[in-house]
């Protein structure tokens, strides 16, 4: 069984540039999470979906960040105008139902110069 796939693995941007991250969850997993993990900190939830619906995006900086999961499978997280404070690893995770194991992708390491 394939795991959670994320791309790209690395991204380096200048402030003000845009970037998109892509995630392909484990097949059949209905819940998909995007986390931001600054260096030396734990993952911080940005947004999560159940199927195609956004369940909670209250921690997503809505002026610059957006996330979609149009068919309830793959998902894209976009940063419109990156800031240095966005430097972090962006993790995608999926699970089947609630209260179950989260399976993480390898993450995208973003550096904003």
């Amino acid at each position: 069984e394939a795991g959670v796939t994320q791309s790209p693995r690395y991204a380096v941007l200048q402030e003000g540039q845009a970037v998109s991250f892509w995630c392909d969850p484990i097949s059949g997993h209905d819940t998909l999470y995007w986390y931001q993990q600054p260096r030396d900190q734990g993952p911080q939830l940005l947004v999560y979906f159940r199927d195609e619906a956004v369940i909670d995006n209250s921690q997503l900086p809505s002026d610059r960040f957006s996330a979609v999961r149009p068919k309830g499978t793959n998902s894209t997280l976009k940063i419109q105008s990156a800031k240095q404070g966005d430097t972090a690893t962006y993790l995608c995770a999926s699970s089947l139902g609630g209260g179950n194991t989260l399976y993480f992708g390898a993450g995208t390491r973003l550096s904003v110069l």
């Binding site: 734990g42 939830l45 993790l91 139902g97 609630g98 194991t101 989260l102």
Partner: protein
Amino acid sequence: GQQVKQSSPSLTVQEGGISILNCDYENDMFDYFAWYKKYPDNSPTLLISVRSNVDKREDGRLTVFLNKSGKHFSLHITASQPEDTAVYLCAAEGTGYQNFYFGKGTSLTVIP
């Protein structure tokens, strides 16, 4: 506020000793508690989990203790080994597909 807190950013233990990692939570609705292990430059992976209907779960050298009244859970690693050196993240989730919250992590170092 932070829903799940790990008060100790780091812990050093001698090989063969017991490592005790602690986590506090705020939300009474949390009913699933987990510990994830993270090596540098790798993603977190599930180590052990427990639901709120039990107070303790053992798996080999690992034991999770859950204190619901104190809103606290802990991970005990017996006979600690150098390969246990990693960052340990505690996590909690509530019923009804609520947010899956993580603590900031405790960096465990096991000295040979």
